[in-house]
Symmetry: C2
Subunit: 149 residues, 2 copies
Amino acid sequence: MLRLSTKGQYGVRAMYEIARGYPETPVTIKEISERQDVSVAYLEQILNKLRKAGLIKSIKGPGGGYILNRSADKISIASILNELEGPVALTSCLDPEGGCVRVDSCVTHLLWKALGEQVEAFLKTITLKNLMAGDFYSQEVKVKDKVKV
Amino acid sequence: MLRLSTKGQYGVRAMYEIARGYPETPVTIKEISERQDVSVAYLEQILNKLRKAGLIKSIKGPGGGYILNRSADKISIASILNELEGPVALTSCLDPEGGCVRVDSCVTHLLWKALGEQVEAFLKTITLKNLMAGDFYSQEVKVKDKVKV
DNA sequence: AAATACCCTACTGTTTTTGTCAAGTATTAT
DNA sequence: ATAATACTTGACAAAAACAGTAGGGTATTT
């Protein structure tokens, strides 16, 4: 259950490669493609979104490539996935645009909401820098002491 | 991102209805269908899985229906979702059957693993009883202090 | 002006999801 | 017995989401 799309996975891995070049060396799509074994065309789609979101910037022409727009410790995994897959919304009920017709009567509504918040909180605490260092400080993600309906 | 399938959602809601009848009254599919607005045919599939998993038992014939196999405080949301959607496996990498060809080189492997474990831990702490009471004690789900690769 | 490298949109095959349908089996009440 | 109730099972199909390709375009450097 709860599979992450390849877009999200590849996106994080691509960001990891770009982070490795920061702040000096732009990394080309081709390099990312080879190192992470993802097609250039597919990466183009992914990096485009991340660029538009302001996470990375691109430099055209020879010697160009992609580079982080801010330092690795300021880019969370959550911010990457949010751009590529949208916000965590375990049910259509919880889609940002709303549309839950049963909200009040839906007994599980708050449950999914709490779980979503927990996931989001976790992903926010982990940055690209953490990923590169290979250690995840999971600072006690606490959702809520008690949620009473 | 991370959408839960309707099967999982309906499953939890169906279990909620069945829990309401426990331990006296078997609840029929028809009743669940009406109260939760899910088709009888679809519920049949879902309840069948839950029955085979031993979470509920069925009583045939008039006056029959479904009933919990153990008390509501002994059935976690995790156990329901696990039957209907399989274990949390955010990437194919983490599928129980294995098959990750890159494990060592995959920088994100541990990240997804940690997140999955966090989700699973959260869902395990919440039981049908909690759901019925409407309060989720989220007892500080702590993943790991520090994971060093 | 040639080479490099990003930019953008459309499209398509596959897989998963979300159900429906039809025919069956078991049990109870009369 | 038999009719009514209710669960059981497997096949199937429409629709949505996913994963990725293709092909042309634009900007920059040497």
